[in-house]
């Protein structure tokens, strides 16, 4: 097992009359346990030069495993505020990450193709993105050679 902590702070001094300050820290565990997630895709950095859909995290097999749990991090590294990437899960749009935005969410892949995490750049002029999954999945990697 491994110990991976994730924390978030949300702050604003002028969103309300009073200031906003939210702070959270949690540990990435396997589902239903206090055993740490022990696999990762590693932090990938990609330079995308087309507006076509790409699978960041495909579900290679379709088996549901209740012991599986995962966390996903995606960041749009663009410096141009007009550039965004659209994040989908299968046919559902989660939302847009504009330049400098990131997201962190749980992921429990349940069905092949349906639960793939996908990304679509808004421009073909080149966008840097980073993404990583921390997980204990059996189903996002091939189990044999491609033939």
């Amino acid at each position: 097992m491994a110990t991976t902590t994730n924390s978030l702070t949300l702050t604003s001094t002028d969103l309300f009359d009073d200031s906003l300050s939210i702070s959270n820290t949690s540990t990435c565990y396997k589902a239903g346990t206090t055993i740490g997630l022990d696999q990762t895709t590693g932090l990938t950095r990609a330079y995308l030069t087309a507006t076509t859909v790409i699978d960041l995290f495909p579900v290679v097999k379709g088996t549901i495993n209740a012991a599986e749990n995962g966390k996903i991090y995606i960041a749009n590294l663009s410096k141009d505020e007009t550039e965004f990437v659209t994040i989908n899960i299968g046919d559902a749009v989660i939302g847009r990450l504009y330049a400098g935005d990131f997201m962190w969410m749980p992921w429990s892949p349940r069905a092949q193709h349906v639960n793939d995490i996908e990304l679509v750049p808004s421009v073909a002029t080149g966008v840097n993105v980073e993404f990583m999954a921390i997980h204990n999945f059996a189903n996002i990697y091939p189990t044999g050679v491609d033939s």
Partner: protein, 154 residues
């Protein structure tokens, strides 16, 4: 406009053979601009006592305003519990969906599950806010589960 900052840190000394230390800060801005988001739902706290699906964040007009669809909205959700066994499933679609995992292009009775938030877990995602993109929560237990959420929108 307002200045809203979000900072994430992910750290592990033993997930891989070298330590992982990731940190990133974003300022929430309106789509295509450097102008900060200025509207919010406020921090909402709900106690759920059944395993039925509910629409946690619905699209369209709300008591806190009408979030614009397909822009730079952000959504924060936290399971405030402490259980490592009980969780809430987070999905996109419609609460009246069947058990299938497929979002129908035009229908309301469908959903796709993102994942599970166990006690103490949080998430921060962009919020699309278009038709058939409600955020749904399904608790795993009928024991009281308290969740907090906050939408930042334009």
């Amino acid at each position: 406009m307002a200045t809203i900052n979000a900072t994430i840190s992910v750290f592990s000394a033993d997930l891989t053979s070298n330590s992982l230390s990731l940190s990133n800060t974003m300022t929430m801005t309106k789509a295509g601009t450097n102008t900060g988001l200025e509207f919010t739902s406020g921090l909402v706290r709900r106690k759920l006592t059944a395993t039925t699906a509910i629409d946690l964040v619905t699209v369209g007009a709300q008591m806190y305003g009408t979030p614009t669809a397909s822009v730079a909205n952000k959504l924060y959700i936290k399971n405030t519990g402490s259980s490592s066994v009980d969780y809430i499933d987070i999905a996109i679609g419609d609460k009246d969906s069947d058990a299938g995992e497929e979002l129908l292009a035009t229908g309301g009775n469908s959903k796709i599950t993102l994942g599970k938030l166990f006690g103490g877990d949080w998430m921060l995602i962009p919020f699309e806010g278009s038709a058939n993109n409600d955020i749904i929560v399904v608790p795993s237990t009928a024991e009281a589960t308290t969740i907090e959420w906050m939408l930042f929108f334009e």
